[in-house]
Structure formats: C-alpha cells, structure tokens
Symmetry: C2
C-alpha cells in the first residue's frame, strides 16, 4: 500500500540511490566506482560526495548487473574429482591464492569421476558464463570438450596429461615419468625385483600412464611382471585395502608395492598390518603424491611429491593468461616437477 515504486526486489541500494543522494547522475557514480585507468577524471568534489553517499548507504555494486554488461563474471569454475581427496586441497588453495589476488570468485564442483557430473559441469559453466575453467577431467572425451569449445570461448586449463585438445592448456605429464623413476629407484637403489602395482585398470587417468611408467621400468630392468603383480583398486583407501588383499590371497607377495596414489598406498599398509604383516619388512609400499595422511600412517609413506599448491597457482596463472588475452593460440603443455620423498614405508 505504501509502496510507491514497482516491487522492491531487494532492499539493497542501487547506483541510482547513490546518485540521487550525491546529486549526480548514475553514470558519474559508475565512473567513480570503476576507476579503470580511463583518462577521464572526476572533480575531487563530486568524487567525494559520491564516496560519502556510497559509505552512507553501504552501497556495493551489483555484480550481476555489471556482469551482464561487461560479459564477464569475475568468476572461474573449478572441477575437481572429490573434495574429500586431500590431493586436491593444495591445488584448490593454490588456485585461490591467485584468484584472491585478482578478485575473482571460485565455483567448485566435484565430479566424483562420474561422466554425467563432468558433463553437467561443462553445461553449467556455459549457462552461467564463467570467465575460465580449471578442471581435472576423467571421463570426458575429446569430443565432449570439442563440442564445448565450439559453443563457448571460455578458456580451459586441464590438470593431467590425458586431455588432448588443441586449444586446452594442460598441466601434467608427471605420471608416466615419475612412476618410471620411482620404480627404477625401487629396483636399482632398493634392490627390489618382485614389484607389484595397484591401480584402476580402466582407461581413466591417471591409471594408464602410471601403469605404463611401472611397466617401462620393469621391462628396462629385465624384470618379469608376473600375472598377479598388477592388482585392481580404486583411488581410495578402500581401493588399497582391496589391492593388498588380492596380493595376500595370491600367496606370493611382492617385496615392494607401488600404489598409483597415496590413498591406495595407505589402504594397502593398513590391510597389510591387519593381516599381521610388517611394513616395510614383509612388504614395502610406496605412494604417489604427498598428502597429510602420508605422515600420519605408520610407517610414514615414501612417495612421489609434486608441489601441489604451486601446481594450483600455475593452473590459475595459465588460465589468466588467456582470460586477460595475454596468450592466444593453440593449447600449451606444462610439465610439473616432482621428486622422491623417502620415508619409512619402503
């Protein structure tokens, strides 16, 4: 009844309110507030009036309206596999280190390594146009990505070497060489000859590359990979349980087991200990990636370490190169560093 204007969709002050209070036009307010280095200058007097009004009303520009106009959201979307997996935490942190500095927001999705979720993520990023995408794709085919790219110009950076698309930047490529080096170290330095491997056996990254690294090292050393040397397990603690159980049931235990990630390695150790085995005396275990759990488990896990937070920062940096137009052209590839961290588990 007392309403005068149309529906007051929100009680937030708008630029108009600020303008009215300051006695100027809304575009002047806009100019003061978005002080992009346009050579235009505003008289110190009006500027101050406006700033006062802003203060008084606690005005905050509406990002939706701004986005609609400028066609960018100040927001990137990040798809990780699983928020519960500590592997992703430093990566997300690294990304946020960067986006915080650039005043961008981060939308996080879990794919759970499910194809449908990965597709949904892509579509959501289309509908709610984000300025860039960082993803750790697992199931997405090159075609999916292709279709997406055709429909949208949003730059994408992928984590993991598996995405093979000419206009997607990729950070990764550590899986094969790092696994190779690690297994080689197991053979040459630690003297193991019967080395087992736990990984998923499907085609989803990073399983295949790590298996390849393992096989290359074994073959180069002239070691035979016995049929039961490669056991199946998901990239979780349970996967590790499962893999180790399979080894134990087979009877002829390898002397060392390389697990394709550290969660599996931990599961494997837990399972071995539960079965009354000593680690590393009866069987050594090695993992991939340094997660906090690696030093909680006893014995602490020997692992391949990458600087995950740095990788996160790098992902963001690479993405922003494109968002800001500093880089155009075909997708680039960045290989991460890694090193062995030797602890007690092998």
């Amino acid at each position: 009844m007392t309403e005068k204007k149309s529906r007051p969709t929100s009680n937030l002050p708008t630029m108009q309110d600020v303008a009215k209070l300051a006695g100027v036009s809304h575009s002047t307010v806009s100019r003061v507030l978005s002080q992009n280095a346009t050579s235009i200058r505003i008289s110190e007097e009006t500027r101050q009036k406006i700033l006062d009004a802003v203060e008084q009303l606690n005005y905050q520009p509406n990002m939706i309206a701004r986005s609609l106009r400028t066609q960018h959201m100040q927001m990137i979307a990040v798809m990780i596999g699983d928020i519960s997996n500590a592997f992703y935490h430093p990566i997300v942190r690294g990304i946020q280190d960067f986006t915080d500095q650039h005043d961008y927001e981060v939308l996080i999705s879990n794919s759970d390594h499910i194809y449908e979720h990965e597709r949904r993520f892509l579509n959501a990023s289309l509908r709610r146009p984000v300025d860039g995408i960082i993803m750790a794709p697992h199931c997405l085919t090159s075609e999916d990505l292709d279709t997406f790219i055709k429909h949208s110009r949003v730059p994408i950076v992928a984590l993991g070497a598996q995405v093979d698309h000419p206009s997607i930047d990729v950070v990764g490529g550590t899986s094969e060489p790092a696994t190779y080096e690690a297994v080689k170290w197991l053979i040459e330095v630690k003297g193991h000859r019967r080395i087992g491997f736990i990984s998923t056996l499907n085609q989803m990254p990073p399983g295949p590359s790590r298996v390849r690294g393992y096989m290359r090292a074994m073959e180069e050393a002239g070691l035979t990979i016995e049929p039961n040397f490669i056991q199946q397990g998901e990239f979780t603690i349970e996967g590790g349980h499962h893999g180790m159980r399979a080894f134990i049931q087979h009877g002829k235990l390898p002397t060392a087991i390389f697990a394709a990630n550290s969660l599996m390695a931990i599961g494997a150790i837990l399972e071995a200990k539960a079965a009354g085995l000593q680690v590393p005396e009866d069987v050594g275990v090695m993992g991939f990636d340094d997660i906090p759990e690696a030093t909680i488990i006893s014995p602490p896990l020997t692992i391949v370490r990458r600087d995950l937070r740095q990788i996160g920062r790098q992902l963001a940096e690479i993405l922003f190169d494109r968002i800001e137009g500093k880089v155009t052209g075909p997708g680039r590839f960045f290989q991460s560093d890694w090193k062995l961290v030797i602890r007690g588990s092998i």
Copy 2:
C-alpha cells in the same frame, strides 16, 4: 569488417537467435523454456519448433541475464574454515547433496579463521547477491552479522552454537554437552582421574564450549583441574604436537587427554609416539569428530562422532526453508546428535 551487429560479445546463441530460427518472438521462447506452472499454455506446434531450434543451436539460457531479472542466482555461498580440514568435507558434501537436487550452485570460500576473510566473504555475498549463505563463522561478531542482515535479506544458516543472532538459523550446540559426556565417560567408565585437555585458549569457537564441557565434567566428578591440565594448541595436527609436547615437558603426564578436535588428537598421538610413549598405555588420547585420518593413525582414535554429512544436508535444508519462504521469523536452533565411537586410542 564483415561484422554487422555491434560487438559480438560472445558467440553463444541468445534467446533472440532461437526466436528467429523458430520464427517466433523471444518472449514465447522464454515462456516455453521457463515452464513455471503458469497456467499459460503454448501450442504444441510452436513449442516443438522452439525446442528444435534450441536443440539445433545448443542454446542454454544465460543465467546472468535471468538472474538480473529474477533477482536470484540459483546459487548459495558457503564459508568453511579450511578446505584442508576433513571435518568440512562431509558437510560440504551434504550441502551439495541438497543443492544438486535443487539445481543450485555452491560458491565455496575458506576463511582460514581470519577475521578479514570472514568479512570479505560477507561483502562478496552482498555484491554478488547469492540466494543464501551457510557459514561456519569464527571471528565475526554479532555486530558484523547485524550490519550485514540490515543491508541484505539473504538468509543465513550458521554452523556452531556461537552465533547469537535473532534471525540467523543455527545448527550446532554439540560441543559443550558432547565434550561433557565424553569426559564423563573417561572418568566413570575408563576410570581416569587425571585428564588433560588441549584446545585453543582464545574466544573463538568451538574452543570455549568444549573447554566448558570438560570443566563441568571434571568438577561434577570432584576432580581437580591442575594448572597444567589445559594446554594450548591450534585446531591442527601441529596444534596437537604442540599441546602434547607441553604436557610431556611438564613432566606429570595426565593418563588421558581429550583434544578439542581430532586433528589435534592425531598430532598429540604422533608426538607421544615420537617421544617413546605408548598410546593408550602411557597416555590415552581422545578426539572430536570422525575424520578419515582417525582410522589411519595407530592406534585408531576414539572420538565423538557427529553425522557430518547429515549436518550438511540439514544446513542446506534449513536454508532452503527460508529461501523458498516456507519459514520466516526469528532464527531457529537445531542441535545435532552425537555419539561416542570407541577405538584403540583410549
């Protein structure tokens, strides 16, 4: 040069494109696409034409434009303390269980328990108007929240009993009673009399409530809390190291130590073992909240368990009650359930 229209801000098809292709007006397209149960009906023929055009162009409505119009984003903001803390993972998952179903997006921020970050979060939620907020506030004062609420109608649900604001829903209230029960159990069932406690000593939740629960149980049992029984430590593994080290250096070790969260409990166990102590023989340790690390550590941790994923779902549900207008009025309070899970560490 070949451009006809103004700048093609994006190559995404718009509703106009669909309309043109289908030979109708864009408002008709809108009506077909946002099939809100308005009694208005569209002829099956036009509808099909439009749907075909949508399909052909792979059209996805632009959420920014829609949001500007409808004044809601289909998005909620979640502020957690720290993405690396496993405590938050099932909570975030629970929230996403709910939002996925309702087709809402989730914006995640870490506060790192830093006041400035918490304020920034609130302001960001104002600028980019989200439809609702779920937060685990640590440093924010009631005044901060008050100011925020005055400026915005966005509903807020807080995790933890510490927020005392009449229009914020709260889920929590487990800290004091659960700690009390746990310590009581330590005394009555396990027969401990010298029980230590590790927590932060500042006023930031959930420290104080847990300390209170501990003190109440001790006092009720007529047990004296010796000066060195309460040790300082952050809510991290390092905090636990630190606390346990303090106990050890003091010489007179309690027989049992309750750590205000499980990360600290793990740090404490690690430190005790490093010092050559046996857990639980020399000193028992108990934690708060069931995180995966609790069963990786040896001995596995005895803890207070809450159904964190369920709490996440509940948070979202409570929030949506308000987003959808099903609930209005003063803030409600929801107490979570908990129970003791007895494992090897005490």
